[in-house]
Amino acid sequence: MSTVHAHTVLIVAAILFVLGLAGVLTRKNIIFMLISIEIMLNAAGLAFVAAGSRWQQADGQIMYLFILAMAAAEVSVALALVLQIQHQHKTLDVEQLTALKD
C-alpha cells in the first residue's frame, strides 16, 4: 500500500477550509454562516494534527485541543446572539441586521 504524503493531507485541509470560506461568502442566513465557520476551524485543526503527525510531536494535537475549546466557546456565544437576534428582529438575514441600536 502506498504511503500518504504530507502535502496530500494539507491539500485536503485547504479544500475543506476553502469550502467553509465559500459557505461564509455565499450564505445570508446566520446559522449557515456559523456552520461554515465551524468547517473552517475544523480544517485548521486538521492541518495542525497533520503537522504534529508529520513531525511525531504532541504539539499538533495540543493546538487542536485549543482550537476545539475556542470553537466551543465561540459557538455558545454566537448561538446565544442568534437567539437574541431572532427574538428582537424576527429574522436571521444578515443584510437586514444593519442597525447597531434597536
Binding site: 500518504v4 504530507a6 493531507v9 494539507l10 475544523n42 476545539l68 470553537a71 466551543a72 455558545s76 431572532q86
Partner: protein
C-alpha cells in the same frame, strides 16, 4: 492506513460540499455530522487517536447538539428552506466560488512545490499528548479555562430575554418627567 485516509477524506469533502449547498438547516447539520466523523477517521489514520476521540465527542457531539437545539428553538422549517432556495441563485454564489477556487489553486501550487515527504506511520499516543499538555503547556490550559468561563458567562448574559435593550442615555427615567 493510506486507503482509509483517502476514503475518509473523500467522504469529508463530499459531505462538506453537501453542507454548504443544503437549503434546510437540519439537513446541513446532519451532513456536518458525517463530515466531522469522516475527519475523525482521518485523524485516526494519521496516527492521532486522541484528536479523533475529541473530534467525535466535542464536535460531532456537543457542538452539533448546540446547533440542533438552536435550530429547533427557532423553529426553522419549510419557510427557511424556501427562503434559502430564493437566496442561493447562480449569480449569488458564482463570484465568491470563482475567487475561492483561485485561492485554492494557488495554495495547491504552493503546497506541491517542495519535495514530497511521506507521513510516518507511528502513532502519537494520548500519553505523550497529556504529558506535554500538563507539562510545558499548563499556562495555556489555564488560559483556555478562562476562555471557556467567559464563554459560559457571555452566553448566559446574552441569552437572557430582556424586554428591550436600550442604551442608558436613551432610557427615560420616570422621576425626570
Amino acid at each position: 492506513m493510506s486507503l482509509v485516509f483517502y476514503i475518509s477524506s473523500f467522504v469529508a469533502i463530499l459531505a462538506t460540499i453537501m453542507v454548504i449547498t443544503r437549503h434546510d438547516p437540519i439537513h446541513a447539520l446532519l451532513y456536518l455530522v458525517a463530515s466531522f466523523l469522516a475527519i475523525a477517521v482521518t485523524f485516526l489514520s494519521l496516527g492521532a487517536p486522541f484528536a479523533a476521540a475529541l473530534e467525535v465527542i466535542v464536535y460531532a457531539g456537543a457542538i452539533i447538539v448546540l446547533f440542533i437545539f438552536v435550530v429547533m428553538m427557532l423553529n426553522l422549517g419549510k419557510e427557511t428552506a424556501n427562503q434559502e432556495k430564493g437566496w442561493l441563485r447562480l449569480r449569488v454564489w458564482l463570484g465568491p466560488s470563482i475567487l475561492v477556487l483561485v485561492l485554492l489553486a494557488e495554495m495547491i501550487v504552493v503546497l506541491l512545490q517542495p519535495q514530497p515527504t511521506a507521513m510516518p506511520a507511528a502513532v502519537v499516543t494520548p500519553r505523550e499528548v497529556s504529558l506535554s499538555l500538563y507539562g510545558e503547556y499548563i499556562i495555556a490550559v489555564e488560559l483556555v479555562g478562562f476562555l471557556l468561563m467567559t464563554g459560559i458567562v457571555g452566553a448566559a448574559h446574552i441569552g437572557k430575554h430582556k424586554k428591550k435593550n436600550l442604551h442608558r442615555y436613551l432610557q427615560t427615567y420616570p422621576n425626570l418627567n
